[in-house]
């Protein structure tokens, strides 16, 4: 946790605003955005876990893009299949490692962060029809009893 790291680094007045962006918005406080339209761009439809399982077994154009952090990968494991591991905090610098001729299936823990990744890639001219994200993230995948492998 970031605040814990700051304490370990020697910061004496460390605060955790645990309500976060959700709490800030709920109280109708102002937010800043570098591009409001970008943040509200239409998203491709998410893919259901069962559909993804079927596609991964039969369609070589599907590539998983795991945007989680290492901790989550260790805790929940990985979905088996061709995968690009690209944590979201590195996406803005390393996105060009992602192929643009495949169907990229972005996944995270609960599909809370994948939409931002999709919008970013759309902004970088990846095709709308070549992008999707796993509905409910790996949590939904596991809830449906689908297989994961250890990290």
């Amino acid at each position: 946790m970031a605040a814990g790291q700051a304490v370990a680094m020697g910061y004496h007045n460390t605060y955790w605003y645990k309500e976060g962006l959700a709490g800030w918005k709920k109280s109708h406080n102002l937010l800043e955005s570098l591009n409001f339209n970008y943040a509200h761009r239409k998203l491709p439809e998410p893919i259901e876990p069962q559909t993804l399982l079927k596609e991964l077994g039969s369609n070589p154009r599907y590539i998983l893009v795991d945007i989680r952090d290492t901790q989550s990968r260790q805790k929940d494991g990985l979905i088996a299949g061709p995968t690009e591991v690209l944590p979201l905090y590195r996406l803005h610098t390393d996105y060009e490692q992602l192929p643009d001729d495949k169907i990229l299936v972005i996944y995270d823990i609960r599909a809370k962060q994948a939409p931002a990744a999709i919008r970013f890639l759309l902004e970088k001219k990846y095709y709308f029809t070549h992008l999707t994200y796993l509905k409910g993230g790996i949590s939904a995948w596991k809830t449906e009893g689908l297989p994961v492998k250890a990290f």
């Binding site: 007045n13 955790w16 605003y17 962006l21 962060q113």
Partner: protein, 98 residues
């Protein structure tokens, strides 16, 4: 940006008046929890805390609390953006519940 001499106590007294005395614990070196009204009041003061968004630049680009800087948790140890003065109040946040 120094806060310990005068400013922080002043802000906290102000917050106490607003919150009816329900202030975050102030034990040294602990992580203190701050609520939405407390943070809002503090950000409106002359001397603001250093506010850090701990997720990615991609999300930061879309939405953030005004005045924040983005330092992903994974890059906290190597970031040069944190204030050099270890006494500076630093507030961290991410998406929150929901």
């Amino acid at each position: 940006m120094r806060h310990r001499g005068f400013f922080l106590p002043t802000v906290l007294v102000g917050l106490a008046l607003i919150t009816g005395g329900n202030l975050p614990c102030l034990a040294a070196d602990d992580i203190q929890i701050i609520t939405t009204p407390e943070l809002k009041t503090w950000l409106e003061a002359d001397q603001k805390p250093f506010l850090v968004y701990t997720l990615s630049q991609v999300e930061f680009y879309e939405e953030r609390i005004p005045g924040s800087v983005c330092i992903p948790t994974e890059q906290m140890q190597t970031s040069r953006e944190l204030p050099p003065n270890m006494d500076t109040p630093v507030v961290f946040y991410c998406l929150g519940p929901g």
